[in-house]
Amino acid sequence: MDRLISRRDLEFLLYEVLDVEALTQRERYRDHSRETFKDTLDVAYRIAVEHFATHNKKNDQEEPWFDGERVHTNPEVKAALEAYRQAGLFAATHDYALGGIQLPYVIATACGALFKAANIATASFALLTAGNANVLRKYGSPAQQKKYLLPQLEGRFFGTMCLSEPHAGSSLTDLLTRAEPQADGTYRLNGSKMWISGGDHEIAENIVHLVLAKIPGGPPGVKGISLFIVPKYLVHDDGRLGPRNGVRVAGLNHKMGYRGIPNCLLSLEDAVGELVGAPHQGLSYMFTMMNEARIGVGMGAMALAYTGYLHALEYAQTRTQGRRMHDKNPASPAVPIIQHPDVRRMLIMQKAYAEGCLHLCLYAARLVDEERTAPTPEAAEQARLLLEVLTPVVKGWSSELGIRANELAIQVHGGYGYTRDYNVEQFYRDNRLNAIHEGTNGIQALDLLARKVGMQEGLGFRLWAQEVERTIQASRDTHALRPYAEALEQALKTTAQVTQQLLNKAAQGEVERAFANSFAYLELFGTVTLAWLWLEQARKALGKEGAFYRGKLEAARYFFLYELDKVPLLAERLMRLDDVFLYPEQDWLTTD
């Protein structure tokens, strides 16, 4: 079996739960139908299985390398991305006029999940390019779009995002890269960019770096950051490639996972850059890419959790070991380990995390479509706000649960899971990145609590609560779901109280004390969000025949019994506002 992501589950979530077919009523998606969605997912699935999954292990074992001049990657990476290109996947969500098919973002996200489950490193080249292209589509000038966007949509140029610097990752305020304006309207950039995924390679004709830098004399802090296009090879106005630009690879980082995509320290040495949009607006433009990339990171974490789960499930069905507890006869045959309660525990946990996070990611992706095509501007604005609130949860909570799921997948494999002969240890190492990049989960937790839930006098929080409430109301009168609805109602109330208390405290000036426990808040919010989505899945599965739907109900039961019960504890911890993590002035953590 391919063991990527269950197609059946994707269909359940897309059509039975999220009613994605309703999007075909919108003008933008008018030409689409369930058939075009299915056919697109079919193509993605095949390319993922036949071209991406096939070199996932090789990517891990044979890292990219730098010969001082060029960065070398496995030839299979290029072949896979060529198949991706030929299928037209680079442009999928874009207008017909740009070579796209106006595919809903939620379907493109589902396709992306398949590629990430198959080979997260190779898929990352494509998804970075897609994010880069979206920034240029939104903010690039017509001339820039012609030179840099179209070739990315054709899959001839690839894109990167260059934010981080060696000394500044979480705190972009402190960026040092400078961009000096030139008489011809271009800029010359100097500085170092660290951690740049896909920062150099020979796979595409050219690489379009989107670089954050400061124009001297601009306002201090993030308000002084501008966004620049810095191509690897300069591009003439007619599209021909010119000489190499001043972007030099200073070295590659040797990573724990995600090894198939080179990660570069780039040195900008009088590199020619073109300003995107207005000066000093760079960070807000880049957030277009970052928000999308954050959904992408959450989705990647989920995809690795999902494929790990399917690997563990298959292993547990075929590995025999020991006997049922009541069977005292040593001569009776050993049973498949899936029959042991503790192994079932580990499988159900993985199922609850992976399938719950798949729902979360698709829900968020559908909000992108909503924002883009909602019938009224108010509805579009609501979708945008709700997405703002959910983005740190998609990124932060999927990546926390994803790592836990992969750890359990190893455990189900016993000693074999700890070896490189099996795939699960690689998933774990690959997945470990997702809690770090695109803003660490510590930063996501702060973003959620200190920015998002309080946005517009708490409107973001209220929109989220309304959605949870809607599911509660829809489940309350169903006998089988009532206990879940009631438990969720209680958890929602608790979350609202906690949120109020923390935001009040912060408003009273005790910012550090209020936000010191933001990670616990992310856990609380993430747990309630997943409980809500699991109730939604249970609601849609209830009364339907077959093991698939029964499995959904069981996973929901697990989630409410074993995960939602953490809420009171987390809430109490948050309400206490204790100071265990405070007083950095004190040297309590010293070892002397």
Binding site: V43, Q86, I101
Partner: protein, 248 residues
């Protein structure tokens, strides 16, 4: 010129099949365009790309075959004819029904899959040729047109291959090595929606009736490892014992 491919839809080889009431239960099984038919479709598209004219797929089977037809259209076939028939039809009955439609189309040549992935039948191509009274070249690995009247083709035999010249119209069946089929493209998927798909009801009755089906038990699935390269074969054996049988 006009090039026709005859196609079918089959369960994906990765699917787990179940028996329900003595019959294979296809509920929940992923269905795909038969791979050997996919080679036929690809070859027909290539012939059209080279020589111009028109490409057509013809399918005979239940409504759900439409998915496989869409795949062929998204790969680049111009239009489709779907002979709609629910239930099993034996290859001879199928060939007779197909021949009527294909004769009316008067194509330059017809391609079918060499062997059906689900029933393992190799009969359809030859039976169709018989019904049309056209020559047949089976297990084709190469084809080249010589004007509109003849084609030169290479085809596999048990222990070798032959190169033949055949008068057109003729029926060809596909074999591995014929080509590397393209994937449908996303723009192709959108275009496929607007292509002609003609439905023709078929009311033929099968001369063979299936009474009961069983599925080979997995434990009896013997795996043959190609021994041409002994070192590779040993590696493969170790891998299978380790990863699949999990005995070492």
């Amino acid at each position: 010129m006009k090039f026709v491919a005859v196609i079918r839809q089959v369960p994906d080889g990765e699917s787990r099949l179940k028996i329900e009431g003595g019959k294979v239960d296809l509920g929940g099984v992923t269905m795909i365009l038969d791979q050997m038919d996919e080679w036929a479709v690809e070859e027909v598209i290539r012939l059209q790309e080279k020589h111009g004219g028109e490409s057509v797929v013809v399918a005979l089977g239940p409504e759900r075959f439409e998915e496989a037809i869409r795949t062929a259209l998204a790969m680049g076939i111009d239009r489709a004819i779907h002979l709609v028939a629910e239930g099993y039809l034996d290859p001879i009955t199928q060939a007779e029904a197909l021949a009527k439609v294909i004769r009316a189309e008067a194509p330059t040549l017809v391609f079918t899959g060499g062997q059906q992935a689900d029933w393992d039948s190799q009969a359809l191509g030859p039976a169709l040729a018989e019904a049309l009274a056209w020559p047949v070249v089976s297990w084709t690995t190469q084809i080249e047109l010589e004007g509109e009247t003849h084609a030169k083709a290479k085809h596999d035999l048990d222990e070798g291959a032959e190169v033949v010249r055949v008068a057109l119209p003729a029926v060809f069946t596909s074999q591995q090595g014929l080509n590397e089929p393209r994937y449908p493209t996303l723009p192709g998927i959108m275009k496929a929606k607007r292509k002609e798909l003609k439905k023709v009801p078929v009311s033929a009755s099968s001369k063979v009736e299936i009474l009961e089906q069983t599925i080979q038990e997995k434990s009896r699935l013997n795996k043959m490892i190609d021994g041409k390269d002994p070192v590779a074969a040993a590696h493969e054996l170790v891998r299978l014992l380790h990863e699949e049988a999990k005995v070492i």
